[in-house]
């Protein structure tokens, strides 16, 4: 997989897990994004979630979930920005699609990565770390002969 594709997958994932408010808060620190044209959406639909029998066997359909998608182009370019985000927040999907288009432009990418993606990724990593620390605090420490001595 090319480095560009890997980088794109990463920012799309980070934007999908960030609220519209959190994305907007990061955008205050960069010049305004160029105007965009909506190609599709933002529109809400369903994605069927799947599990695997026994966790690792054959796939089965678990439940649907709401997902909002959006596709845009930026003014003066023909790059298409896409977003698929869990939930029904149309403004999150549209912001994510606009950012996906802007981030594909090598000239804008470094500033947007630094101002938007990295802070969001850091906040998401910290939230995960907090969860893990709370879980670790409920880990049972059995007293056995070995560690009582």
């Amino acid at each position: 997989m090319s480095e560009d594709l890997q980088a794109r997958k990463r920012w799309m994932g980070v934007l999908a897990k960030a609220s519209a408010d959190a994305i907007r808060a990061c955008l205050h620190t960069v010049p305004p994004l160029p105007p965009h044209t909506r190609l599709r959406g933002p529109e809400t639909g369903l994605v069927m979630l799947r599990g695997r029998a026994g966790g690792d066997g054959a796939a089965f359909n678990l439940s649907e979930m709401t997902v909002t998608r959006c596709a845009v182009t930026l003014e003066g370019g023909d790059t298409v920005g896409h977003a698929y985000v869990a939930g029904r927040d149309r403004s999150q999907a549209e912001l994510a699609a606009v950012l996906d288009a802007a981030l594909q432009d090598a000239a804008q990418r470094p500033a947007l990565l630094a101002a938007v993606i990295e802070p969001l990724a850091a906040a998401q990593a910290e939230a995960r770390a907090t969860e893990s620390r709370k879980a670790a605090a409920t880990r049972v420490q059995f007293f056995t002969m070995a560690n009582m001595r």
Binding site: V47, M48, S132, V140
Partner: protein, 366 residues
């Protein structure tokens, strides 16, 4: 004609719904419940409605609970109805529960296992005494304690995998076939495992709990152990056709249960453990456990075990597990059946008349 056209009820219906709205709101002097409060503070109700409504959306489930006055089956019904209004974008990649960010993980089969026993935010070990402190609004509780996790504990392999490596656990087969989808094709028998799991995943918790309990009490003896329960966040991945590559679209919480059961072996397979599997949205531990018990019971036919108990009868289980369907058929009985009943009345009257005329002693002429 089965039903009579009923006119003249519009005003009564309108007034009944107005009264419903008033009772839903309750005493206006008490502050109104916000949907966000339901989402945050009645999270397990939200999880159940999402699971049985078969649609992951916390806000919609919370709204449905408010609208249904807390009737969770009615709320699941509302969510099922809503989902029919939305287009289907596609199928997500199967969730990777091995890569879960774990909040809770317990095993009843091994005390010391890689990754350890993590209790998480559980009701277990509470004394089930009413906490009157909650009746008085107060300060939010202090944040839960945090402990730096040890690197070796971050990896929590599946208990079933530990057994499989020794050859003691039957491996799951994956023929990489497209699974059945009950939202697209109706149920037919014999049902594939993927059909059964989808049906059980959205089935009524109470129904599955009762069936699971029946297997423990001897109706389809399966002698289960909780190999593992894990609860936490998993990433949802989707490959949109216009992109052609997989992207992460969000994170959801799920509960998974691996139930380990004995199997005496058959002509083709040696004695080993088998597993029943449960997977539900949110924190649905009781439901996940019940689902795993019933999933294993339904394997009786494939494993060459006698099918004698209700929980082993897939037609019985799968056709009655859905509370939206069950509600529809049970509750339709209260709709007008005037003509049906009129014909029954006439039949019963006729039968009574016949019986009475036969019972009458013959008049004897003096």
């Amino acid at each position: 004609m089965a039903y009579v056209a009923v006119k003249g009820g519009e005003r009564a219906i309108g007034n009944a719904h107005a009264w419903l709205a008033e009772t839903r709101r309750g005493d206006a002097a008490v502050s109104e419940l916000e949907v966000a409060q339901i989402g945050q503070q009645l999270g397990l109700a939200v999880d159940r409605v999402m699971t049985e409504g078969s649609c992951h959306d916390r806000d919609l489930a919370a709204l449905a609970i408010k609208q249904s006055k807390g009737d969770l089956i009615e709320a699941a019904f509302l969510l099922r109805a809503y989902r029919t209004t939305l287009p289907r974008f596609g199928y997500a990649e199967p969730l990777d529960t091995a890569a879960m960010l774990i909040r809770r993980r317990v095993s009843a089969t091994y005390k010391d296992l890689p990754g350890g026993q993590v209790l998480g935010p559980t009701f277990d070990y509470t004394h089930r005494l009413l906490d009157f402190a909650l009746a008085a609004a107060g300060e939010p509780p202090a944040p839960a304690p945090e402990v730096e996790a040890e690197a070796e504990d971050a990896v929590a392999p599946r208990v079933t995998e530990l057994l499989s490596r020794e050859g003691l656990m039957r491996r799951e087969e994956d023929a990489a076939q497209e699974p059945a989808d009950l939202t697209r094709q109706p149920l037919s028998f014999p049902a594939a495992r993927s059909t059964r799991l989808q049906n059980l995943a959205r089935g009524d918790e109470g129904f599955l709990l009762g069936l699971g309990y029946s297997t423990q009490r001897g109706y389809g003896n399966s002698h289960p152990f909780v190999g593992e329960i894990r609860q936490g966040s998993v990433t949802v991945c989707l490959t949109p056709p216009e992109l052609g590559f997989e992207i992460e679209i969000g994170e959801i919480e799920v509960t998974e249960c691996q139930m380990v059961n004995q199997f005496h072996g058959s002509r083709s397979e040696p004695p080993q453990f088998t597993r029943g599997y449960g997977l539900v949205l949110g924190h649905g531990e009781r439901k996940a456990m019940s689902m795993a018990l019933v999933d294993r019971a339904l394997m009786a036919g494939e494993l060459g075990e006698d099918r004698t108990a209700p929980a082993q009868d897939e037609e019985f289980v799968l056709l009655h597990s859905d509370n939206v369907e069950a509600t529809g058929f049970v509750e339709h009985l209260k709709l007008p059946h005037y003509v049906d009943f009129q014909s029954e009345l006439e039949v019963v009257r006729l039968m009574r008349a016949t019986v009475a005329s036969q019972a009458e002693p013959e008049q004897v002429e003096p």
